[in-house]
Symmetry: C2
Subunit: 436 residues, 2 copies
């Protein structure tokens, strides 16, 4: 008899302790959260093969989560660098990490991260399959279908909680792409590897064709599938184009198959999207996928912000999350320019958390409003210790404050004696004092 | 006979060269822009008493503009620091600056900035009136009505192009505030000084009561009035509250009086506004003010981002600008923590320009789309020199790129040999090559 998946267990009314704990930490009713997982509107990525100290629920009205992508490249293959990035991501408050390594000993890096990560860990197994083929046979397209599945199973068996699989890049979707040329073509690395393989071999996407096999692996290891958008737009000009939408329709169909199989899944989304199309993109994706958790990379609302792409992504991410996106993949300041450093990782997580929290506040997520309220009360009271403690990034706030502060000053150095709040308090009370 | 104001001149069909030039630089038809100024939906802040090398049109479908606030405080009174900030703002691409000095010799700082600024210059004269009263009579509320007008006239006569006047803080608006207490009370410095004065003296706002006198000064010097929102919300909890809206209604009435008097005006807006209320705030303000140019400070979409408030403001600013805001006042990373440094000013301008440009792109402002398109083509071609040249912040992009780049590598260090765009180009062409 097959083991029961989390979705099947929950359907029977059993509530695993880890899920109860994760729900309770967010001030949510575990049974309500369980219903969302059963309906496929939330996921709880927690594979069977590793202990995850801080698992979390994604979607279903929970707090918007933040993922940090780390991992080596050929130019920077040192696993120790990636451990430092993992630590930076955890310290900055990421909810999940993905190891996207493409350099050095991939298995070694992944295992090192898996062993040390208190957070759910995601990977993109096709990278390893492609890189192995490149190294061993001299070409990415030399990878064989069986090898792709071997790598997927190896990842699932060694501590991974969710995997990105580019199943939506089908032959018919590539036909739509051919008929509607793009400025930036394919920018998803996994999507590009898969499309290149398909076009070279003139064969259908093996992960699409053998989706049941993928479901079987996911079931056995309780690994959540993150249905990648291999055709996500790589520039604002390409956003919301026929190829992107054609792939989304395929992903919508695969979401249904995941649910029927009791496999948890989420759907990945853009990418680069101009400001006025962000909300529509999220709403359409939610509609087409029956409300599956939506995991966006950005979206970046302009292409010209290199060096500040984390901010371009925070703008898009906040709007996306308000419109219903559940999981924000961070972007670092070094996006489009190079492999991030630990400091870039920290900055990327912090800025993405600001976007996520702004959406939580607007969506009425439990606890979000209270945080801002406490900060505002501390600010009104000119209570600097409380303000710094309540800052989402205390380290940065404290450093900027101390750098300019003047001994004996109670207000900040912007207004000093002419602090509006201190001045007007003599004439108007506040909510707190009730003397208004 | 009174001199004709810009609005009156334009109404007669005369087009000043400076306006033609400013419109043409944006790729806009000067006559269309002139119509917008006549209708009061755009302003061209260009006082009579100084040469402004780079004046600009704000509103009326032009590019979203960015203002940088500079100025001394009691703790940092050195005028030279402010000149360095002016230079930083200009170099980073600000469209206007405001001198908000409250420390040292205020006239000296203002004159130094006016003499050196190639950009339109704004001030908040009530600061100087209040500070003088504090220094000379020991109390802000000791300032006299006549002194307020003297300072206003002095500013207008010495090179200022627009002034913020807190005319909307009326007795009846303060009654609304009393009846609906806030968490953060009044956080606008000018609003607080005015409200404190009114409550102390139990007298109506002199700038409201003598609005015709203000209009007369503005006419004589062709100074644009920026109708300040003295009751702008200072935390997300206070956003869109009765006091804020009551003041907005008053400002709407004053906009009509400005138009009747041929005086250019814009309207200032929040502040701190949660994500889901930003668009509504802008649309209501535009409606109530008959489409007057809307000048927002932020809005910050959360209160807990201290150290990164420029990002919280960029999120709100981008959404506000998409909804119709015309002029974004930057926020620096040091907001709520201290007086900004030149480096903070640079960062604030850059990040605010990203928000403004994202909105321009979405609003279809001429030229905005082409910029992103050129960047994306350069990115696709892995043309690094072009990418760095097209970056909104070349300095930062170049530094991040060079820091990690490896000799001889054509792709960036994130993907190296596994660059998706380079790989897929073998199998798919691109829009450019037409081989798709």
């Amino acid at each position: 008899m097959r083991r029961k998946t989390l979705m099947e267990t929950l359907k029977e009314g059993l509530l695993p302790e880890a899920l109860c704990k994760a729900a309770a930490e967010e001030g949510l009713d575990p049974e309500r959260v369980a219903e969302e997982v059963v309906a496929g509107r939330a996921v709880f990525p927690l594979g069977l093969t590793r202990v995850v100290r801080r698992p979390c629920v994604i979607g279903g009205g929970t707090r918007v989560k933040v993922n940090a992508n780390i991992g080596t490249s050929a130019d920077y293959p040192d696993p120790n660098d990636e451990i430092r990035k993992l630590e930076a991501a955890v310290e900055a408050g990421a909810d999940a990490v993905m190891d996207l390594s493409t350099g050095g000993d991939l298995r070694k890096v992944r295992t090192a991260i898996a062993n040390r990560s208190p957070l759910p860990l995601g990977t993109v197994p096709i990278y390893e399959a492609a890189i192995r083929a490149q190294r061993e046979k001299g070409s990415i397209v030399a990878m064989e279908e069986e090898e792709i599945f071997e790598v997927i199973e190896d990842h699932c068996a060694s501590g991974v909680d969710f995997i990105t699989v580019h199943c939506g890049v089908t032959m018919s979707v590539l036909e739509v792409l051919r008929a509607n040329p793009r400025v930036a073509g394919i920018v998803s690395r996994g999507g590009a590897f898969m499309a290149g393989w398909m076009l070279h071999h003139e064969r259908e996407n093996p992960l699409y064709e053998n989706f049941d096999r993928l479901l079987d692996v996911a079931r056995r290891y309780e690994v959540t599938l993150s249905l990648g958008d291999g055709l996500r737009p790589g520039c604002v000009e390409d956003a919301s184009d026929p190829a992107q939408l054609a792939e989304l329709v395929v992903l919508g169909g695969l979401v249904r198959r995941c649910r029927e199989a009791g496999v948890q899944c989420m759907v990945e989304g853009p990418g680069h999207v101009p400001l006025h199309q962000v909300e529509a993109n999220v709403r359409i994706a939610k509609e087409v996928t029956g409300g599956a958790p939506f995991y966006v990379l950005g979206p970046l609302v302009t292409d010209v912000a290199a060096g500040h792409d984390h901010v371009a992504a925070a703008v898009g991410g906040a709007i996306a999350a308000l419109a219903g996106a559940d999981f924000l993949c961070y972007v670092t300041p070094r996006e489009h320019l190079g492999l991030p450093t630990p400091e870039d990782v920290r900055e990327g997580v912090i800025i993405t958390r600001i976007a996520a929290h702004a959406a939580d506040l607007a969506r009425g997520v439990p606890g979000a409003r209270r945080w801002d309220l406490e900060m505002s009360r501390a600010r009104k009271a000119l209570d600097w210790e409380a303000q710094l403690s309540l800052a989402l990034d205390r380290k940065k706030a404290e450093s900027l404050f101390r750098e300019r502060q003047v001994e004996g000053e109670t207000a900040c150095t912007m207004c000093g004696d002419f602090c509006a709040m201190r001045f007007i308090a003599r004439y108007l009370g506040s909510e707190e004092t009730g003397t208004c």
